[in-house]
Each structure stands twice: as structure tokens, then as C-alpha cells.
Amino acid sequence: MADLEELYREIILDHYRSPRNRGELESPPAHRVEGFNPLCGDEVVISMVVEGGTLADVKIGGSGCSISQSSASLMSAAVKGKPVGEVRQLISTFKGMMSIHEASLDHEHGVGDGHEFDGNGAEVVPGEPEQIDLEQLGELAALQGVVKFPVRIKCATLSWNALAQGLDEVAAEAS
């Protein structure tokens, strides 16, 4: 059960049982975005307020498995109050962490063609390991055990893709 304990680390279970920033913000003024995994029915609803280039507030709604919900909770704690540029960097670092480990797994087991897809069907581009600063991820690094379970990667990235989409939409509205 070693792999399982690595997947379900205490910090993940903690965020699953006691999710941070849970709820919804009134929209408008908040921007609302939904992430949906049609295969398994997991859903995440993110309300966000961007003010002066900063993600001033974020709340997480929806329901799903421990990985999708804890990832959303961990994400909310990591991005709240951060400048949008830093948030985007974190999204890219987090998704990079998922794909590096994925690529090394493919190599290890000799399976897969190296093309993995995230929950939205977009190809996850494997990052160069040296570009990914796991230190920067802090508590989020607890989710790295997920990559040993490829089917669950889309659970972990669901909220991150939704957040990225939300930031794009807010930027588009502002321009």
C-alpha cells in the first residue's frame, strides 16, 4: 500500500476533510468559472476577484473525489492574494510537476507515447525538470504522488485548468 499512502498523503486528506476557501462569491462582481470532468462527474466552481493585477479573492465550490477537491483547496490557499503573473507561473509549475513525473513513469514502465492529455483534452507539454521549482510549490508538492496514477492526473489538474480559464476570461473582459 506504499503507493496508496503516497497518493493519499495526510496533507491531501486534511484539505479534503477541511477544504480552505470553500464557498462562492457573488457574481458579478466576482468572475465565476466551472471545471467539469465529464468522464467521472467531478466538478469544481471557482469564483474569483481580480483587482489591480492581483487575485484578491477566490472561493471554491463543487464536489468530487479527494484528489480533485484537495487540489482545489490547496490551490486556493496558494494563489489567494497573489499577483496574477505569479499565479500563472504557479499554474504552469504545478502542471509541469504532473507532466515531468508522468514522462519519467512512461520511461520507467515503457508504456505510453509521451503524449498525455489533461482533463480538458489539451495536451500537457512535458516540462524540463530543471525548469520546475518544487520548492516554489510548497504544500502543493504533496500532490506529486498522483502522477503514479495517470487516470487521476485529470482530477488533480481540474481546478488548475479552470483557474487558468478564469484568468483568461477576466483578462479578455478587461481588454
Binding site: D3, Y16, G41, E43, R152
Partner: protein
């Protein structure tokens, strides 16, 4: 339907011997032997099915219906014989004309909606479905509704035990042209009284489409007793290969239906401005059909017939009874099980929730025990909404399933409970 009861006097199955027929059961996953409880998604294949397909490819393969050389004649004969074997398996009165091979159950059901439906329904016509249908017996009618400018889609409700509420059937049937009903729910295991519904539907002037994907592999089914006008099922759920599905249709209906897909093999003649379709079943089999798959399905039908569908049903009904009892005994009220209690109207499909552990997490922990179950909405989202759940973990039985499999399932659920506290 008689023969679906658990009180069959047929000799019990020797699961220990039967398990030897299924090579995949020899696999070890995460250090544990595979406990396969996902037959409702796809069944495992006995060696005889795999051998039949290998032998076909090694000795006989050629395209059907065209060549005059020896192997082409042989492959055509094998393909057409599959129709007879499959027809006999479900007691079809005229298998040579009434069995259409498709890709899967979904394609069979789409064929009915697109061919029969398009030719016979108009905007405003009523279609009666049930709340427990798989998306594949629901969405084709919704697509047709959009194409025709709006059908009156009605639903037979499901009650708290997972049975259909039939008190209001006559009113629901008023003006209905077609009734599409699952012969066994892929979520709840419910085996509804298709015959009763079909008789009422016929009295109201409607035709009846039965989705047999779950029932046909697990209980004796006879067209005569079922009472439906169309019956769809899949090769891979009946221990045959993927890539082949079956549609049985009453010949009187099939004769008047327009083609579904166009191409080679489904025509009598083609000119630059017109075509004449072939008679059924060729009319509905455009392009090279699943030939090796038909050979594999023939072997699967033989295997199931040899084991005995009445014995399979009796075994799975008894094991369902055992499983429901043991889950209750070991997990108590922490485990919520959906669907009717074990009995004549309950098949070996067990959807459950355990404490507040999400179905995906349950399935992930169970995988560490080698247990294969399916988490999710099982392509029945309207039913899941009705049950008030996002996802369930579903264990489904095969003829080789045994009490040990259930004990490992319970062991895994307990571990999930411990892990998630």
C-alpha cells in the same frame, strides 16, 4: 419472466473450474490476483473465444459476401452462421433475416432511433423512456427530437427501491409511438417487467425497444417471452469480443425500415442519381462487418449455452444475495446500496456508497487489492441525479464470481474507510 428466479433447480456452477477458462484471471495486479467485478462494463473472454478468433485469422480470414475463393466462401459462411447462433441464443423466430450486426449496443439503439424513428415519428409524437436508462437509450431519442423539431419525451419514474413505478403506465402510454426500456439497469441491477410494459405498450399501439446490454449476458432471454419488438445487446458484455453489437428486430418492422448507414454491402443497385437498398439484414450492415468478432461471438454464445443461462442466472442471483447480506453484516449503515433487494427482479450489479469516501477513491483503494470495480455515473446521469449522488462504486458479477471475491471487496472497502478516517 420465468427462468429469472433464483430458485432454479439446476446444478450450481463450479466457479473454481470455470475460472480456469478465463486467462485474464491469472493476472496479478499490485501483488494480488485480479478480482474482476466489472462485467457490467465489459465481460472477460473465455479461452475458447480467443482461440476461435485466432484460428479464424490464422486459417480463414477474407472479406465476406464478395469473393468466390475458398476462404472467402468460408468466412461468409462463418459470418452468416453467427447470425443463426446469436438468433438461437435469444430465441429469435427468423434469425437469418432478423439479426443485424452492429458495432455495439449503442449503435444498435441509434439504428432504431435513426432508421425506424426517422421514418415513423413526426414533431410532437410521444416517446416513453424510463428514468433509469443508460444514456445510449436516451440520447438517440433526444437527437431525433432535435432533428424532428421536438418529440414529447416522457419518463417512467424510478421509486426509492430502484424499481419502475408502473401505476401510471396507461396514462403515460396515451398517444405514445415507441417505448424504450432497459431490460436490466446497469446501475441498480433492476430487472423491470419488460413483458408487462410491452403488452401495455402494444395495446396502446406503440412499439417496444429493449436495451438488453445487461440482461442478455446474465439471464435466459427469449424473444417470445420478452415481448419487445427490438432487442439490442453487445458482444463484449456477453463474453465475446469488443467491436460487435447485435440488433434483433421483428421482420415486419425491419422490412419497412430505411437504411441507417450507406455504403458497400447494403445496396441492390446504385445509379448516378439513386440507389436501391438490399433487403434486411444486409440493408443495415454497410461496409465490411465485424467478421472475426462474429466468429468470437459465436464461440461466446456456445460457451454461455454450454454453462447454461439458467444456471448462470441462479448463480449470480444467489451471489448477489450473499453480497448484499455480507456488505450489510460487515459494513452496516456505513454502506448504502442502491437498487432492489436480492430477488427475481435484481441482477448482479451492486452500486454502493461507503461512508463519505468518494467512489473514485474507493475504486483507487480497491485497485490495490486487485479488485476491479467502476466508479462514476455509469452513463446514467439523470438516474444519478434522482438518487441524489454524483458517483457510485459499482461491483458487477460474472458467472465465475464467487464468495471470496465479495470478501476481498469488503476487505478493500474497510481499508478505504480506515485510510479516509
Amino acid at each position: 419472466m420465468s427462468g429469472h428466479g433464483s430458485g432454479s433447480s439446476a446444478a450450481p456452477l463450479n466457479t473454481e473450474a470455470l475460472r480456469k477458462d478465463f486467462p485474464l484471471l491469472k493476472r496479478v495486479v499490485n501483488g494480488r490476483p485480479v478480482v474482476y467485478l466489472d462485467a457490467a462494463a465489459s465481460a472477460l473472454q473465455p479461452q475458447s473465444v480467443i482461440d476461435a478468433m485466432t484460428h479464424y485469422y490464422e486459417t480463414t480470414h477474407a472479406n465476406v459476401h464478395r469473393g468466390v475463393y475458398a476462404t472467402a466462401e468460408e468466412s461468409t459462411a462463418l459470418y452468416e452462421r453467427a447470425r443463426l447462433v446469436v438468433g438461437r441464443f435469444i430465441g429469435a423466430p427468423d434469425p437469418a433475416h432478423e439479426i443485424v450486426f452492429t458495432k455495439n449496443t449503442t449503435e444498435s439503439l441509434n439504428l432504431v432511433a435513426q432508421s425506424w424513428g426517422r421514418a415513423n415519428l413526426r414533431a410532437g409524437d410521444a416517446v416513453l423512456l424510463t428514468e433509469m436508462e443508460h444514456h445510449s437509450n436516451m440520447v438517440p431519442w433526444m437527437i431525433l427530437s432535435e432533428e424532428l423539431g421536438g418529440l414529447d419525451l416522457r419518463y417512467i419514474p424510478v421509486d426509492g427501491t430502484g424499481r419502475l413505478v408502473l401505476d401510471d403506465l396507461d396514462r403515460l402510454l396515451n398517444g405514445v409511438r415507441v417505448v424504450a426500456v432497459s431490460a436490466m439497469s446497469n446501475v441498480l441491477g433492476t430487472i423491470p417487467p419488460v413483458r408487462l410494459i410491452a403488452d401495455a405498450a402494444h395495446a396502446a399501439g406503440a412499439v417496444v425497444v429493449a436495451d438488453g446490454a445487461q440482461l442478455v449476458p446474465h439471464a435466459p432471454v427469449s424473444i417470445d417471452q420478452l415481448g419487445a419488438d427490438f432487442l439490442a445487446f453487445s458482444g463484449h458484455k456477453t463474453m465475446g469480443p469488443t467491436g460487435i453489437g447485435v440488433l434483433w428486430a421483428r421482420r415486419s418492422l425491419l422490412d419497412d425500415m430505411p437504411p441507417f448507414l450507406g455504403g458497400g454491402g447494403m445496396i441492390l443497385d446504385v445509379k448516378l442519381d439513386s440507389f436501391r437498398p438490399a433487403p434486411p439484414p444486409a440493408r443495415f450492415e454497410a461496409g465490411t462487418p465485424p467478421i472475426a468478432e462474429a466468429v468470437g461471438l459465436t464461440a461466446a454464445m456456445r460457451y454461455l449455452t454450454e454453462v447454461g443461462m439458467d444456471r448462470i442466472r441462479a448463480h449470480e442471483a444467489a451471489l448477489t444475495d450473499y453480497a448484499l447480506g455480507r456488505l450489510e453484516e460487515k459494513l452496516g449503515s456505513d454502506c448504502r446500496i442502491f437498487g432492489p433487494p436480492a430477488g427475481p427482479d435484481r441482477g448482479g450489479v451492486i452500486s454502493l456508497e461507503y461512508r463519505d469516501v468518494h467512489a473514485h477513491d474507493l475504486a483507487q483503494v480497491l485497485d490495490q487489492f486487485g479488485v476491479c470495480v467502476r466508479p462514476g455515473h455509469h452513463c446514467a446521469k439523470p438516474l444519478m441525479r434522482k438518487l441524489g449522488v454524483q458517483a457510485t462504486a459499482r461491483a458487477s458479477l460474472s458467472l465465475f464470481s464467487d464468495e471470496h471475491d465479495i470478501e476481498v471487496l469488503i476487505e478493500g472497502l474497510l481499508e478505504a474507510g480506515r485510510l479516509f478516517g
